[in-house]
Amino acid sequence: MATQRLQYERPLIQRVNTGILNKFGTRTEYAPFTHIDGVSVKSLISEFGSPLFVLSEKNIREKYQEANRAFKTRYPKVQFAWSYKTNYINAVCNIFHQEGSWAEVVSGFEYQKALKNGVPGNKIIFNGPDKTDEEITLAIQNKSPLHIDHLDELYRVTEIATELNIRPEVAIRVNMDTGIYPMWDRFGFNYENGQAWDAINKIILSDKLELTGLHCHIGTFMLSPSAYAVAASKMSDLAIGVLQKHNIKIKYIDMGGGFASRNTLKGAYLQGVDTSPSFDQFAEAICTAILNAGFHKDDLPLLILETGRALVDEAGYLLGSVISNKRLSDGRRATIMDFGVNVLFTAFWYDHKITPAQEFSHYTEDTVMYGPLCMNIDVVRETCTLPPLKKGDHVVVHTVGAYNMTQWMQFISLRPPVILIDRNGKPQIIRKRETIQSIEMEEILPAQLKDFKL
């Protein structure tokens, strides 16, 4: 009888560094990540290929309900609006719409997506600095809340509204110093220097537009709830000022988004899971500031939130496979994956958590993780501690649900499919793998360039 051969693992040797900080950080993964919502990673890759984006419907709904509960238990009038730019795959948008979210869009393209998804016009908030005349006209006709970003837009919206003989509901975007750096002052009208009041006065005195809301968005990946308290106080101050000065009730305050997800920013000393504030902390800061601002109880404005990243990031996983291992000139291990920064755009600013999807021993090696692109910038993780992975092994990249499926690039290869694991644990394709036809269908080859001889 043949002897059973033992499990193989690549031979490893590592220098022991004691007494000094290891720049690669400590190992955080002690168990393989083999299943997502009860579906095995291996079966997903075998059925749908690698690389592959996977989203958990269960996680999306739970996160939404957690955020909704955090705000609604603290403030009487709360409305979420799904930030399309964070993830505008229709299936994802419609999960949020089923949960009760309006749509928040920043372009005509996103506006059309929201309309096609069936969101009523008056529940599509139209943000952003670039709205064409056609888009403004459509938004006015659909009674969509138009959030005005700059004076040129204010004038143009006024002209179009006059031509249409419609008095549209508008808000202005306000930027302000909330004590964080960098201060986001490129969008909207500044609070401290009086631009916001100037825009408010122009709108009210022209009488062509109805000022119904005030909007702000103080930053992105905000780790400080107190900045939102400052912002909510300043927004409330403006709203109360408008009531006192012009006797006009501001119907809503839109606090935008920017809540951090549980990812780890590059250069951060601590893991995102340890530093990211909870929805309760953000809700406490915002709701307390508005409730304490001095509104009469009948005048409390609707609180709108455009949270995107914090609601969908954790629901997303990227599954991938090892193409090869190599040793760099300085002795570091490098692992080449079948996904790169073209599909994992957020690798530019996060140190994503990456877990092997199969059993491994406790021996690890400091590894640089590269993507497959023939580009030097294609680095998924500059340093991470991983067990020995061999060609064909699978890994799971965590917390990739936000911004990857909108900012991914079709560069030298086709974008992977996106799978949604529904509430019954059934995987469903919600975006097909691209084909060469998907890319070439928009190309036009002039007749004189059709033939050549080599």
């Binding site: 051969r5 499990q7 693992e9 040797i13 022991v16 040793r327 021993s361």
Partner: protein, 81 residues
């Protein structure tokens, strides 16, 4: 290729290089290979042993052996020729 004579190798896979003060750790297969090298076994013997003992093939075993030897060279643990 032989391991330098003054390199200390513990049963649990720790290596100490007295000339630099550096310590290294090995996984069990790394430890086995190092022991075979220390006892004078050559590449061909080691690779045959690996394929007979573990669930691997000659191609993978050789690739990983060469990589391992590269690391031993990098860490100055091999005898100078």
């Amino acid at each position: 290729m032989k391991i330098r004579n003054n390199i200390a190798l513990s049963d649990s896979g720790f290596i100490f290089d007295p000339s630099t003060g550096d310590s290294f750790s090995l996984n069990p297969i790394g430890l086995e290979i190092l022991r075979m090298l220390k006892s004078g076994k050559d590449k061909s013997f080691i690779l045959t042993y690996m394929v007979d003992t573990y669930q691997t093939d000659m191609e993978t075993a050789e690739k990983d052996y060469d990589d391992f030897m590269g690391m031993l060279t990098q860490f100055h643990l091999l005898q100078e020729k």
